[in-house]
């Protein structure tokens, strides 16, 4: 009798621990602090319209979010909707392990009605083409909710103070403007280069401008060394920026939040930032007068390419509520919701028809979309360890520790080591 009682008690206890799944609710994990309020508002509206409760759970900063997603994937406990950050290789791993649902059929329904509503550039990072190097089944695996791109901003008042009538288009002009700004005691360029990817992004813009896409991809494949004169020119951009005193003090350890604060509080005339900054600057200083410009060119012969992508959500491939999650994402990317999202978050919408509702300053960013590219749409990405050496090398140039040639040599040495290891591994196989 005693035994039965104990077993009964244990069953009651453990039954209480089991998580009760609500069939009429879906969970979304994201990292977008600045868009959280808008998501919650939209989720409330969706519940009123459909009776489906959408729980948006914010995990920031993005590094911590990435770690959480990776760890949860191992436990096969990912939410119904989430986002995958990082390179395409990481995204491919999530797909190949069944964590991400293939949405191609949904996009193709009704003569591709859903797909045709969205900007192709916003959709591109979620697309895997036939014969992709990641060996992922061709298809569309994610849903873009907005479009972002990285450009330069200029403070109209500070430029006027220095007698500069229009923003620079070339690097030579930029350095002249920096000298003029210095004469009136105004700092030049601020950027969140305490965050690796922001240095990588700026350097990548100039790599495209100096040598073009084919040569960059050839370098990633190991066919061209980082000691090539064109790569030295890329490293040299940072040396020139340092030598000319164009960078604000401490830029090399500055997080983007601090960089945004510096520009919003008019401590620097130029900033390098993403289109989300419109929302951030508005919150920090609504009276700030600024414009958007492409980073000034070094090489007139080639186009300046900027990083542009969007924030995307994916549907958990193992979720029991897959269809509910897809329905919600369709609703979220429909014109009406995208207009609301764009207005409230001051971000570029992923839906083409919602573009007319954007903040005027964002139209400058929208124009830049034509020049946008991103590692997630490239055929190949550089190895993480090489990228890390590349970024640390640029930091060394900015603090005056190393020359562009020294950094190029060190990056190439890591590249060769990685290539050797790859060859060895393939031979073993």
């Amino acid at each position: 009798m005693k035994k039965i009682l104990v077993i009964g008690l244990l069953i009651v206890l453990f039954a209480g621990c089991a998580k009760k799944e609500d069939p009429n609710s879906i969970t979304v994990w994201h990292w977008m602090t600045d868009r959280n309020a808008a998501f919650i508002q939209l989720a409330r509206q969706y519940e009123q319209q459909t009776g489906i409760k959408v729980n948006f759970e914010l995990y920031a900063p993005s590094d911590a979010y990435s770690q959480k997603i990776t760890a949860t994937a191992q436990a096969r406990a990912l939410p119904d909707i989430f986002g995958v950050l990082g390179e395409k290789e990481v995204f491919a791993s999530f797909i190949k392990n069944g964590h991400v649902a293939d949405l191609t059929d949904e996009y193709k329904l009704n003569d591709s009605a859903w797909e045709s509503e969205l900007f192709p550039k916003a959709l591109a990072p979620n697309v895997f083409l036939e014969g992709n190097i990641y060996k992922v089944k061709p298809g569309i695996y994610g849903v873009p909710i907005d479009v972002t791109n990285m450009q330069m901003l200029y403070n109209k008042n500070l430029l006027k103070q220095a007698g500069i009538s229009e923003p620079p288009k070339t690097m030579a002009q930029f350095f002249k403007d920096i000298a003029a700004l210095k004469r009136v005691g105004v700092s030049g360029l601020v950027a969140g280069w305490g965050e690796d990817w922001m240095i990588d992004c700026f350097a990548s813009n100039y790599a495209f401008n100096i040598m073009g896409e084919d040569k960059i991809m050839a370098t990633y494949r190991g066919e061209i060394p980082y000691t090539d004169p064109d790569w030295i020119k890329v490293f040299n951009v940072f040396k020139q920026l340092t030598d000319s005193g164009a960078l604000v003090p401490g830029v090399v350890t500055k997080g983007n939040k601090y960089a945004e604060q510096d520009f919003a509080l008019e401590r620097a005339a130029f900033a390098f930032n993403g289109s989300w900054c419109v929302n951030v600057y508005h919150a920090m200083n609504p009276k700030l007068e600024y414009g958007v410009m492409l980073p000034p060119k070094v090489n007139e012969a080639l186009a300046m390419r900027i990083w542009g992508t969007g924030s995307s959500f994916v549907v958990n491939g193992q979720s029991a509520k897959k269809q509910k999650a897809i329905d919600f994402l369709k609703w979220l990317t429909a014109t009406q919701q995208q207009v609301q999202f764009a207005v409230e978050t001051r971000n570029l919408p992923a839906n083409k028809k919602a573009l007319s509702s954007i903040d005027p300053i964002l139209s400058g960013f929208a124009k830049g979309t034509d020049y946008a590219t991103h590692p997630t749409v490239w055929d190949i990405n550089e190895n993480d360890q090489v990228s890390e050496k590349f970024i640390k090398g640029i930091q060394s140039i900015i603090i005056g520790d190393k020359t562009p040639q020294e950094v190029a040599g060190e990056v190439q040495a890591v590249k060769e080591k990685i290539m050797e290891r790859k060859d060895r591994k393939e031979q073993t196989k």
Partner: protein, 311 residues
């Protein structure tokens, strides 16, 4: 008859051992689940080349001790250990000397000593993130309208020392010392509290006896206070080493996650980098190596502590 007594004693002793073992069993189980098992599991992962997303496949991903071999040749890793060693050295010296001096002062007949005790314990209870942000503002090197924004640089200019103005957190020669000093500032309260508790346990009659024998203040400190404080000092030293070697929140808060090239990297930031770069196997090898280093330091300190107690 004596044999029977011996047998009974043995039975009682066995039962006592068993009962004692039962008392510590929950602790052993918790220790095994949360410390031993993860450590073994991490070691298992450290012999794989694994990105953290794919399912673990020992046959395909096994690389033997390659990750450890790579770690031995990884200059960045050893540099980060050196940086952690520097922070630890500053903490052992500056932080603990300051903590001991203040505890010594508060143990005397000092006015408002309770107030000072509370004030000295404020930095340790503050969040490392908050401390980092406050010091980032103090050490800021930015300029607006020709004026220094950072408090320290502003004070240097106002006190006629503009030549000392520095980009404190982005200058390779000052970034790590700044972190080490802030880490010591934040941590000295713990040492202070432990030293004060230790000082208060010393029998006051010993001081009086020394005074009767004609000993001066320095002599009392050297021959009475310090020898009596050896066990406490050793505990503080071990805790300081373990705490300082693992410091990283303050660094991320002050410098950012990317760090200043390799000048501010510490083992934990290196492990974090490997994890975020999806080199989980290598990150686990770093974790195991770092764990072994810390265990060795702890055992070494215990050995020294035991030797000193015998002396």
């Amino acid at each position: 008859m004596p044999e029977l007594i011996n047998k009974n004693n043995k039975a009682i002793m066995t039962r006592n051992y068993f009962t004692s073992f039962l008392f510590i069993l929950p602790a052993i189980v918790i220790f095994c689940i949360f410390y031993i098992y993860p450590f073994i599991d991490i070691f298992k992962l450290s012999v794989l080349e694994w990105n953290g997303i794919d399912a673990v496949n020992f046959k395909e991903n096994f690389v033997g001790l390659q990750n450890f071999m790579d770690l031995l040749k990884d200059g960045g890793w050893w540099h980060s250990l050196g940086n952690a060693g520097f922070i630890t050295f500053i903490a052992l010296t500056l932080q603990n000397i300051l903590a001991f001096a203040l505890a010594f002062a508060c143990d005397r007949e000092l006015r408002m000593k309770n107030f000072y005790s509370v004030v000295f314990f404020i930095p340790p209870v503050l969040s490392e993130v908050v401390v980092g942000l406050v010091w980032t503002w103090i050490l800021n090197a930015g300029i607006q309208n020709g004026e220094q924004i950072g408090l320290l640089n502003h004070l240097l200019v106002k006190t006629g020392l503009p030549h000392l103005v520095n980009d404190w957190l982005s200058n390779p020669s000052t970034a790590l010392p700044c972190i080490a000093i802030v880490h010591s500032w934040k941590g000295f309260g713990w040492g202070f509290l432990m030293f004060l508790a230790g000082l208060q346990t010393i029998d006051k009659q010993l001081y009086e006896a020394a005074k009767v024998d004609g000993a001066g203040n320095w002599s009392i400190l050297k021959n009475v206070t310090l020898p009596m404080m050896v066990p406490v000092i050793l505990v503080v030293v071990v805790l300081t080493i373990l705490g300082s070697m693992q410091a990283f929140i303050l660094i991320i808060s002050m410098i950012g996650r990317s760090g200043l090239v390799d000048y501010t990297s510490v083992p934990v930031t290196e492990i974090l980098d490997s994890m975020l770069d999806h080199h989980l196997g290598y990150a686990c090898a770093q974790g195991v190596t770092f764990g072994v280093i810390l265990i060795a330091i702890s055992l070494g300190s215990k050995f020294i502590s035991d030797r000193m107690k015998q002396v």
